[in-house]
């Protein structure tokens, strides 16, 4: 196996280590879930949304996905719940809802 076949550090044996421990799969960290950092989640109200894309542009985590219909959907696998999208949305179409215990 080669290092590029692993996404978890504790699965890698010394034989798997690529030359110079170079990571050869671009963006492989995208499999990592950071959604569990959230204590709040963004809720989009499509009525108010004017598809301006500012939420997508301002997300530090690239955790808002542009959809084909022009709307933008939070990617809850990665969204850390910082609330920047809600804060800058010109139409207040995004509100942050506290994550409750499931």
């Amino acid at each position: 196996m080669a290092m590029k076949d692993f996404t978890n550090a504790s699965d890698v044996c010394w034989q798997d280590v690529e030359l110079g421990a170079v990571v050869t799969t671009p963006g492989s960290a995208s499999v990592r879930r950071t959604g569990d950092w959230r204590t709040e989640r963004p809720i989009l109200d499509k009525e108010k949304c004017i598809k301006c894309g500012l939420c997508w542009l301002h997300c530090p985590d690239a955790a808002i996905t542009p959809l084909d219909d022009g709307y933008f959907e939070p990617d809850l696998f990665h969204c850390k719940g910082c609330g920047i999208c809600a804060a800058i949305c010109p139409k207040k179409a995004i509100t942050m809802l506290e994550e409750v215990e499931q």
Partner: protein, 400 residues
């Protein structure tokens, strides 16, 4: 067809760099290696060498620049000495950990303080565990040959480690003597084209120098350790090919008049030439004395060394650096540990001298051989004996 020339060792190294078709040179001045980057600058300025010449602002940046160049797949060279080698020290580790085949000439120089621009091996001793392949040269011919050999071996897919070519500051770097230069065609054959599989390029974005969490750091380091040791066959193959193509043969451990020798005097670097002279004299006087040259310092050639000393009673080891408060001579202590588990091994008598440019002449070597044999018989609890120290009676050593 090779050509006889007369060159300073520094210029011999520059000649080798030119013939190796280097793509980038990072240059920074520090006595006594400066003639190398100076000559390379002339070559680039006159169009004799098509390479990027980057006059960086420090040795730390010299090593950092060749790291960058190596990352994009450029054949890269830099050179330094003494304090410069210390300043770039953290970057030296990165070169080997990233497995970049950088070649660096080190004109060995004493470390401050006091500041000394003259030769000893204290600078290179700080690089002992940096996972670079390290070799030593005895003369100008070797300074040229080891540099050519370094590019061929470093870039081999079964190696991919940076190499330090050590030549003694001043005693080699500033001494002009004749040597043979091979044809460019032969060098082009000897050093294969280099194509770095993981080079940084937009069509295959890779990440070099990532963050190593505890769960993976050990595996990465052991992979590096095993690879460095596994590079040995290619190190030898490089010398064998050189012997076949250029007619000069080199080995990790070389003995001179070692057959039947009871005593071997051991050195690294250019003092080996002087030591061989004394071996000739001693042989003429009927004494079974030989010389052992350690050419390959890292990865240390344990097996070759043990074979070379079979049947020998005494090793007289001259160290050119002090491991203060430790075993004294770093080379002597490594040789002791290499032989520790060997049955009927020779006694090792350690001397420390040649520091900060102090000369070691034939007479002093003769004294060391005699004194070494004496100690070997009488036994001693000295770790080592410093030589030619005003105020220290001869025969007085340092205990642990």
């Amino acid at each position: 067809m090779s050509k006889r020339v007369v060159l300073e060792a520094s210029h011999a190294v520059a000649e080798a760099v030119k013939m190796a078709d280097v793509d980038l040179i990072a240059a920074y001045p520090i006595t006594p290696q400066t003639h190398i980057p100076e000559r390379l600058a002339e070559m680039v300025a006159d169009g004799d060498l098509d390479a990027a010449y980057v006059p960086v602002e420090s040795e730390h940046s010299a090593m950092s620049a060749v790291l960058g160049a190596a990352a994009v797949g450029a054949r890269s060279f830099t050179t330094t000495a003494g304090q410069g080698l210390e300043l770039m020290h953290e970057a030296v580790y990165v070169a080997s950990s990233h497995r970049y085949p950088i070649v660096m000439a080190v004109c060995n120089r004493a470390l401050s303080s006091p500041i000394s621009i003259w030769c000893d091996h204290s600078d290179i001793m700080s690089c002992r565990d940096t996972s670079w392949i390290q070799v030593f040269c005895l003369n100008n011919q070797e300074s040229f040959d080891m540099t050519i050999w370094a590019f061929r071996v470093a870039e081999d897919p079964d190696v991919m480690f940076p190499i330090m070519v050590n030549l003694d500051g001043f005693t080699l770097s500033h001494v002009t003597e004749p040597l043979e230069l091979p044809d460019q065609a032969d060098v082009d054959k000897y050093i294969p084209k280099y194509n770095y599989r993981l080079a940084l390029k937009p069509e295959a974005p890779s990440s070099h120098g990532c963050f190593g969490l505890p769960e993976i750091y050990t595996e990465v380091k052991l992979a590096q350790e095993f690879a460095l040791r596994a590079s040995r066959p290619i190190i030898d193959k490089g010398w064998e090919e050189m012997s076949a193509m250029f007619g000069r043969s080199y080995k990790a451990i070389e003995t001179y008049k070692g057959e039947g020798a009871k005593t071997l005097v051991v050195t690294m670097g250019s003092l080996g030439e002087t030591a061989k002279m004394v071996v000739d004299q001693k042989r003429e006087q009927g004494e079974a004395v030989g010389h052992l040259n350690i050419r390959l310092w890292r990865p240390f050639p344990f097996a070759d060394f043990r074979d070379a000393v079979k049947g020998v009673e005494t090793l007289v080891v001259l160290d050119r650096a002090i491991s203060f408060g430790g075993p004294g001579g770093p080379v002597a202590s490594e040789l002791r540990s290499a032989l520790y588990d060997v049955e009927n091994k020779p006694k090792i008598v350690g001397f420390i001298g040649g520091l900060g440019g102090r000369e070691i002449d034939a007479e002093t070597f003769a004294y060391m051989i005699d004194r070494g044999n004496e100690i070997a018989k009488s036994g001693s609890d000295y770790l080592y004996e410093p030589i030619l120290v005003r105020g220290l009676d001869t025969g007085t050593g340092v205990r642990g």
